[in-house]
Symmetry: C2
Amino acid sequence: MDRRCNRRDFLRQSSTIGAGLALANLGNIVGATETDSNTAQKLSDDKTLRIGFVGIGVRGSCLLKILLELEGVQVRALCDIREDRVTRAQRWVEEAGQKIPSGYSKSDTDFKRMCETEDLDLVITATPWQWHVPVCVSAMEAGKHAATEVPAAVTLDECWQLVETAEKHGKHCMMLENYCYFRKAMTILNMIRKGLFGELLHCEGRTQENWIRENWHIFNSDGTMGWLGEHLAKRNGNPYPTHGFGPMAIWANVNRGDRLDHLVSMSSKSRALKLHAEQSFGKDHAVAQQAYLQGDANITLIRSVNGVTFTLYFGGQSPQPWSPEHKVQGTLGTCIGELFDYDARADGWIQAKVYEKGSRWANYTNYAETYDHSLWKALGQKANKYRAWDWSGAYDYLMLYQLVNALRRNNTPPMDVYDAATWSAISELSERSVANKSSVQEVPDFTKGKWKNNAPTDLAQV
Amino acid sequence: MDRRCNRRDFLRQSSTIGAGLALANLGNIVGATETDSNTAQKLSDDKTLRIGFVGIGVRGSCLLKILLELEGVQVRALCDIREDRVTRAQRWVEEAGQKIPSGYSKSDTDFKRMCETEDLDLVITATPWQWHVPVCVSAMEAGKHAATEVPAAVTLDECWQLVETAEKHGKHCMMLENYCYFRKAMTILNMIRKGLFGELLHCEGRTQENWIRENWHIFNSDGTMGWLGEHLAKRNGNPYPTHGFGPMAIWANVNRGDRLDHLVSMSSKSRALKLHAEQSFGKDHAVAQQAYLQGDANITLIRSVNGVTFTLYFGGQSPQPWSPEHKVQGTLGTCIGELFDYDARADGWIQAKVYEKGSRWANYTNYAETYDHSLWKALGQKANKYRAWDWSGAYDYLMLYQLVNALRRNNTPPMDVYDAATWSAISELSERSVANKSSVQEVPDFTKGKWKNNAPTDLAQV
């Protein structure tokens, strides 16, 4: 049940991308380097970042390939439980003009050996969810910075583990939440910073996936449960909060002048997973007979200490298109609509709207150019080339660009370990709330008070 | 601060309605009668409905004028604290070819005298919120059916009062929730009944108003608080839940096979009202100095005993357009978007989308004709004429048509006293939840178990 990298079917949606740019033709872009002279000048004295990469499946491959596009990066070690993936990725690194990296695939936990034996500055993990914290902790304990796919952690204990390990060893841990780099998310950030909406009052975000249609690790083709299916069978809350919450957290200065105070969460009944099991394997099959806890819809309400509210929707299993709808409501204006910025005028998308005055919505497109974010102005043209590699290639590029360059300059990455912990903590907190009839859950202050003095981020570092 | 009847600025949005059809030219349509021969045949033996009308301001005037268009209606009595409104409305009734009705405007509670002395079948109230229950209770105690503008009741006690009075006196009490008659709301109802979305899992609805821009009874022009301002200053929850919730309740068979079990609610900070007071009257003015409780955003999560979840948003004060966005999520499909159906393709509106299969949304317009509701097919052409009187004229017509004809046939109105109580109860329940840090609130079963055997409604009676 493997999938192509371009999981959003985006090639089907548009005729603007020629087949020559599709995934197989990586050679067209591999080897490109930073050519902006200002950037090159600023970075000239920076060190090379030595990277180890864990988990080179669909998602990891995309990240790794984009990483190989960045200046000042050496991929020194690769780790995956499947040796063929390591071998394939070693070839990509070699094709990018680098030394063939060491390979690690002896066991589930071979990443530990990698962290302990390799000279690395940064370890990146794109493994299934439950391996994110073990890899990051191993990395930081061995003196490496860490970066992880979303969600950074599954449980509250794991969130604390990330924070405590990072603090103890003085290492960074960034969650790779690429939704924060959507052009529209960053334009809205810019609109907020420029005061268009006044004081922020309320935000809404969705993680709306179509995992069943996309065969995304729910069941394996042999009728066993996939790793994602295991999570959805045993948990009930918002297991995947960060796509919906990340952009809102940046907009609303969560952990940077404000912090999350408490939340309540509610789930609908669970239907889709059992139906899918029955349709795929028959009613008598083991996966059709077992119980599934995760509700087909989950909604979490979160309130900050400054009185901002957040509505966070999760729907992963139901038949509905991937659709990251968001809303921002302030004292001077409001915006609403699909956060994704690619092909956004087409019928298949919910057009974003902005309100400042008058009686009706204005089209977001009226604002897009005026409020385009400085990062997109500087690097958008280059970033957009990577849309041909994956639906999220442009965002991955900008995110990895900022991560790599922050670490090369010994700066804190654009999103830190407190963001990773706070955004991921919504999972277990929502599960606890759902299990107790939507009872209120306090959100821990992972920053231990530092949120009061942390400056807001504009994600503007070039 | 009075306003024209067409409060949604809809005339500004469209050039399709000529000035000759605007409110002042009522004579063009007044006096029209039912011409459909089937309808006339079915109704031939029915009695005339004698009506008393209380509260003839902006909203009441619209309802009264449409009432005068219906066959089998006699408006016998009119009541308003302002005598000039009674006099004006008496003229409308006379112009419609009926006897001049009695007028009541001696005091705030002159409706009691009306209910006790007049021979009426039905009393309709379009007063400020806090008068709805007193009028309905007076009517039912005097042996009249009652119908009320939304919300039917402000407090839980009032909800019970409506139910108990209706049961004790064997009278009907219908809340006039015209959003249930939006063409799109009824088309979606039809799509649900036809199984397009499979089993219902989750619904979302919004009451999103722009009351400040519309000068809708928040402050009076002399600097005193308006009746709506009083509510918003002293309460904090969802004070106006039924526009958002009504259509969802019909879709999801609330009180008709399912019932609401519990809810939690959360409000953002309150900013808009104080800002508006400061800007209108200066920072030192009394209305700028006082406290305002109602948060600018309120979100309520409700769960039914059958496991369906509802997200209900309220935002009345913030600068944002009136925008009744809804969502329906089922086991086979999903739809989302603006519920309003007028001018829905224009830029100023959020286009509705439907998902059944494939990777992206389809336009709702692809489904609109196929799933058009039988009531709209039968009476839509006539109903649409009343859009020229008010933005909601078409819906008001269909709603009053069903109410009047149900009572003329001694049938239960399309929405009953249990709907009125259940939908309105969200107000105090949400306030209690907000006041207790989003604690869970049980929703009373106003039907006392009858929900289990009540049949779903299709709102199809012609």
